[in-house]
Symmetry: D2
Subunit: 287 residues, 4 copies
């Protein structure tokens, strides 16, 4: 297969939505690979993800622009929010990190192995620790100093870099700075963070210390989109690991690294595969 298209839709629920979208695709000759729908009955919302072939041995070529033209009026009629993407256009991604590099190293290795279909165009950090890794994987590295008094300037600098590189997705791979609402508002549902607790337990700083203090028997990690409210954005993925009274804070930190790597990597992959729809403060994850 030499590529596929993905259509993501959400709109008020009403009868015949699946019939109308799938009939339109059928008429245009689309060979559907996956289709999934979800209804939130409480809120009366409908969500859909359809993926079809763009070209293959059998398909000489699906005309994506022509489809876009006929789909747009239907979307207006049915009050849809929609996004149509092609796997031939790889999203441009920036990675932000600080001194803990396990998530960064993990994402870079997955990317090199072909697991993440995107272009890593930029690594931004307020420390220099990641520079050798960036060099090894051939990703441009930018050191952006952040000190108490210079957050605004630092964010300005980071935003300029993101624009220059035409970044579509920002991944906070254990970036230890809080982004301002102004920054966050520039990338709605396009900044993914990993928090080292099972949110909403232990919001804020030092969650492993808090978990140890409370004596929980499982620790967790959470990947989520960043919104203006700290640690409160739509949750994408969570996982947990069992601990015991034998584990000190350092052990939780070590165990937690494996969780952080995995929940962040899953979130990034699902975002890149256009499997995530945000609504309210939640996510639909099409599997």
């Amino acid at each position: 297969m030499s590529g596929s298209a993905v259509l993501l839709i959400d709109c008020p629920d009403q009868r015949g939505l699946v019939a109308r979208v799938s009939s339109l695709l059928y008429e245009r000759g689309a060979n559907i690979l996956h289709a999934d729908q979800h209804r939130d009955q409480e809120l009366g919302l409908f969500f859909m993800r359809v993926e079809w072939e763009l070209a293959s041995e059998e398909v000489s070529g699906f005309d994506l622009n022509a489809f876009r033209a006929v789909f747009a009026p239907l979307a207006v009629e049915l009050r849809m929010r929609w996004m149509l993407t092609s796997s031939t256009q790889r999203p441009r991604v920036a990675l932000f990190c600080s001194r803990y590099l396990h998530c960064l190293a993990d994402l870079l290795h997955r990317w090199r192995s072909g697991e993440l279909l995107c272009d890593f165009c930029l690594i931004v950090s307020n420390h220099r620790d990641a520079e050798p890794l960036a060099g090894f994987y051939g990703v441009p590295f930018e050191y952006v100093e952040t000190t108490a008094g210079t957050r605004d300037a630092a964010e300005e600098r980071a935003l300029t870099l993101l624009e220059e590189k035409r970044i579509e997705l920002v991944v906070l791979a254990r970036y230890m700075q809080i982004l301002s609402p102004a920054f966050v508002s520039r990338y709605p549902a396009a900044i993914i963070n990993v928090h080292h607790s099972f949110l909403p337990a232990f919001v804020g700083a030092r969650p492993y210390h808090a978990a140890h203090g409370r004596g929980v028997k499982l620790i967790g990690a959470t990947s989520h989109y960043v919104t203006e409210v700290l640690d409160d954005g739509p949750i994408i993925e969570q996982d947990v690991a069992r601990i015991s009274h034998r584990d000190q804070v350092d052990d939780l930190v070590a165990r937690g690294r494996d969780l952080e790597r995995i929940v962040l990597a899953r979130a990034v992959r699902w975002h890149l595969e256009r499997r995530i729809l945000c609504y309210g403060n939640k996510t639909v994850i099409f599997d």
Copy 2:
């Protein structure tokens, strides 16, 4: 809501299947609650489950027989195997058990609590241990003796009981007898068993002993449809639990009981909700 209909389909894959089925339902006025599709690209097969309302405040009544009449020719044309069921008709179920009663007690309690939408019409056992539980939950109990020389007669007796009660699903809740191919062939994809290992590891008798002997670090349980080949039928659900060198065989047995209860209960519920399609030796589970 006063009921819903479920249509389960599998057929050779081809373009337009979703469009044609969903359009037909749309034309008949169905209010679709859930729809899910799956393609097995390797085998070129298509699977679909659609659930829609039969009647509600807004829906005065969907005519299931009329739909059946118009759907049948389409199914022939597209070479579909299909099943159309209504939630207003509760499946009639028989439970088989021996001396271990944890799965039986669990299913009966879930049924009493309204978690399992079926009629438990019969409990068959080669021991009398389950009789008080059957009495407490008001399910007819039949003792069917099985000894070395009388398996054929015992199966004959059990089949007669199943026919008298018009049983549609047989659940082997830790039933310690092996059913003959002749018996099994009477209930294709309608006998659910629980095996106390993570199949295909440790097929056959005494799997906890085998797991202990091999020194595994996780034990499992598997629910599956029964076929003529022992422990080889389509797997419905599996789960595992962590064990350690401290656990002796008795500990594995005790830990395993919780797994057995849960994987069997899930399988029974999914079957009753028409979420399972068998193909080859595998299952599609629509969630």
Copy 3:
């Protein structure tokens, strides 16, 4: 084996504790079955659990009272809190419940199967729903009405029943009333509750609604000792299950029942086997 003794110890850490306790047992001829120690280095505390045979084919009889007499001065010298129990004395337990009976039914079945080594002497409820189950398992049932204005009288009545029955452990099997600090203070580290969330996330009422509202990807359940602060006592066990956007509140409730059953049953079993030591607001669980 016809019984074993368990010694639970906690004291300030110092050198030679294991040597002194194990030497004393060795001198008295104890055949140790299990021994486990834990040090909390941060707090400088030492915890130990030792289990040994009381009588067997080889052991004509270990004199528990004689051991108690020689151990007591050592315990004073080393500033130990300690508890010495014999498996021949089964703890007397009361179960409290309301209208959700899944935890109660589960505990009663485990008890009947020999999994829980205790005497269930009493079931207390503010509803009559559990009465048939109590009757089936032969456990005395007491209906204690609780209305807005009568909590004090109801607790008084419950305490009287607990005293009459000489209850040592109270299990709240989804009991939907909040116990007063006065009640709780009568049974320190002897009231076990199950909370239907992954504490400390979603404390308080309706945690499944809260979990659904927040859009988490895992739900949990927690068993803990009850203290005067609601949902804040020492955590004994926790477990989680994966959910998705497809799950409504009712689905979370249903999925959660399996978690609640399991984390409560484990907590009760570990308490009965003297595997739990509380310190501060945490637990050591000897496995």
Copy 4:
């Protein structure tokens, strides 16, 4: 703390073992950090791990050689197999890999982060893919060609390298060659492999294909010591992940990589921390 000693013991079970070992340590002034025992009652075996401080602010220095001299006669008397190691001597480790580099990259990053207390002295591969990673982390890389006719020569070459580097532990990080019994016998309980299935299910080649063919609902990975019988050595760690009918073989491979990384990393860490005792075909893992 500037180091600790670990004593691992296994011997026939008898009374007083804990008392005698802990008393000896107490007399020599050892400050015990952790102590754990296990009895296999079926086989009548006793296992023990003790860890104590070698020097700290309070401990001017524990004389390990003097202890060894007094412990040796006791060990003979009690028929113990034993190993006494100091954390100040870091084990020398070789990594073997082929073309899949996820386990190698993971181990190297953990090592760099300080999670694995050893010296990675050598990377051996029958492909050149790992050479850049080896260079980045500064570990000597040796390409050893293995073709159908040259296995003996290749193993000879590898053994020479291992001896030159005085390697104590060999980690097969997805090394796709089967080692000969002669090779294996040179490193008893000192070669760790990761197998990409939940052993003993799906032994041999292409386990993800086999798992897909059988239609299992969970896939697994297993780390184990290598013995002369393929995929049959003592299991160290296992973990599983949930899959569904939607997952093709490629998806299993991708999901499985995360399992392989984690179970292999845990096995290596536990081996380095002297937490593993082999007996028969099983392991005791001291946590």
